[in-house]
Amino acid sequence: MLRCTGLTKSFGGVQVLKDFSIGFTNKDIARVGIIGPNGAGKTTLFNILTGFLRPDTGRCFFGNHEITHLSPYQIAQLGVVRTFQDLRLILQIPVLENVLLGRPRQHGEKLLRAISRFSVAKEETQNRKDAMLLLEFVGLESKAKVLAGELSYGQQKLLALACCLATGAQVLLLDEPVAGVHPKMALRILDLLRQLHTEGKLVIFIEHDISAIRHAADEVIVMDNGQLIARGKPNEVLERPEIMEAYLA
């Protein structure tokens, strides 16, 4: 479904990814957790897979499409969306509007349609209904009219997830979805990730919290120094002393 081969990426003299190859499918595995120490190359991998960075060498594919040199918006339109470590939302507009922004192929986003409003009102009504369903899914329906900037940090993480889901993308790349969040809220977010399995989504998330990986991931990938050092079921991989040593180091 989503794969990359032979990726290398350097910043200055530091090689962040070293001949990195990996493939993901949602046939058996729906949630993949990526762990690794700081500087392991996790976020760089996400940036390359979503078009925010170009690899020095190597190629990326989503299904039959090569996405190596596509722009972020083109990759998102194909069905790969992401969240960022530093939360990115439109804080000055209401929560519902943020989710509506994610809806793909809106007639009202075309200039002349926006002015004439031809067939826009009906579509907007339907989009608002769909967006409210997503807000209900993440538990933010009561905050629909509140400005996104007035939400708590944990609620903003939920909103970021709802925005990604609004795009209808098949693959969600979530960069530390529960970092810095109250444990109860973290549990809620992780439970939501588990529920996405039924919708056929592939969720790949970077996380430093081992318990979060154990709770929500079907598979764990361990990265260190720009390389893949282990991959497998969390209970098996996270029991291996050499893995934990590399991670904790």
């Binding site: 994610g102 809106q106 349609r113």
Partner: protein, 290 residues
């Protein structure tokens, strides 16, 4: 009364021009100092079409909107890939190029002599000569422009523009082709400047390059900032203040030797105070200086 109608007409024309700048600056978050260039392209197109082709006002209006929109899209397509600060410099460069063309292309624009004898506004074959009727037509045009802007910014299209202003990577990761939205915002900006230029050419009956200098671009941007960027009605408020203020200062009773300079100082001071005390402008939602 004629004097007041004249001021009111200028407020209408500059609020239309600033409404276009507000789409780009207030909603898409792009600072452009080339609005007077689009305004000039619209005015000169109108003048040439009206005099050389003897075409009616609606035809001139469409021609002015088209040429100004194309000029704006050209600027956007060429320079939007630059970083923010460099983009602003590119818009200044474009403004200077357009002004130079207007000032030097003698065979078409008559250079510094300008184009006199632009016919008055006319609708369905009837020339509008009464100052009241001209002012009314300009204000009705301004109302129509603000209605269009209101629909635009309160649509899914406007939502994407706001997202580009606030966080472009976020918009991209949700699948929005932000470059295309920014170019189309410039097209709107140029088209509205074209409307203003068309009205201005008919209203003043004479145009020359001094009306379309970089100072005018800064003036139009000031209207957006003082009125309130990111609010549909901000440019109207800004135009009322900035067009009327210098006129009010005429009646302060300054000695005629220093009047012009003191007026400029007072005007500049007011701008500075506004930006420091109320950076979002009179009724704005977006702080351009954050």
């Amino acid at each position: 009364m004629t004097y007041l109608l004249h001021i009111l007409s200028l407020i209408g024309i500059f609020s239309i021009c600033a409404a276009g700048a507000n789409i780009v600056t207030g909603y898409a978050g792009l600072v452009s100092i080339a609005q007077a260039a689009f305004f000039g392209v619209g005015a000169y197109t109108t003048a040439l079409v009206a005099i050389d082709l003897n075409a009616p006002f609606p035809f001139g209006l469409v021609a002015a909107m088209t040429t100004a929109a194309v000029a704006a899209m050209l600027l956007a397509a060429l320079s939007l890939r630059l970083g923010h600060d460099y983009f602003v410099i590119a818009t200044i460069g474009f403004q200077l190029i357009v002004w130079s063309v207007l000032n030097n292309w003698q065979s078409v624009t008559r250079g510094a002599f300008g184009i006199p004898g632009i016919p008055p506004l006319s609708l369905m074959g009837f020339a509008i000569r009464s100052q009241w009727a001209v002012t009314l037509l300009i204000l009705v045009s301004a109302a129509a422009v603000f209605w269009v802007c209101h629909r635009l910014v309160n649509s899914p299209y406007g939502r994407v523009l706001k997202s580009i202003r606030e966080d472009e990577p976020f918009a991209q990761t949700l699948g929005k082709n932000t470059l295309s939205f920014k170019i189309s915002a410039f097209a709107v900006c140029g088209a509205l400047a074209g409307v203003a230029g068309c009205l201005y050419a008919h209203f003043s009956a004479f145009i020359d390059p001094t009306s379309f200098t970089i100072s005018e671009s800064v003036f139009i941007l000031s209207i957006v900032i003082i009125g309130g960027a990111g609010n549909v009605w901000g440019p109207a408020a800004g135009a009322v203040v900035l067009v009327a203020l210098p006129e009010i200062l005429r009646f302060v009773g300054l000695p005629s030797v220093v009047a012009a300079n003191v007026r400029q100082i007072l005007y500049g001071t007011l701008l500075l105070v506004m930006l420091m005390v109320r950076p979002r402008g009179l009724i704005g939602k977006y702080n351009l200086g954050r």
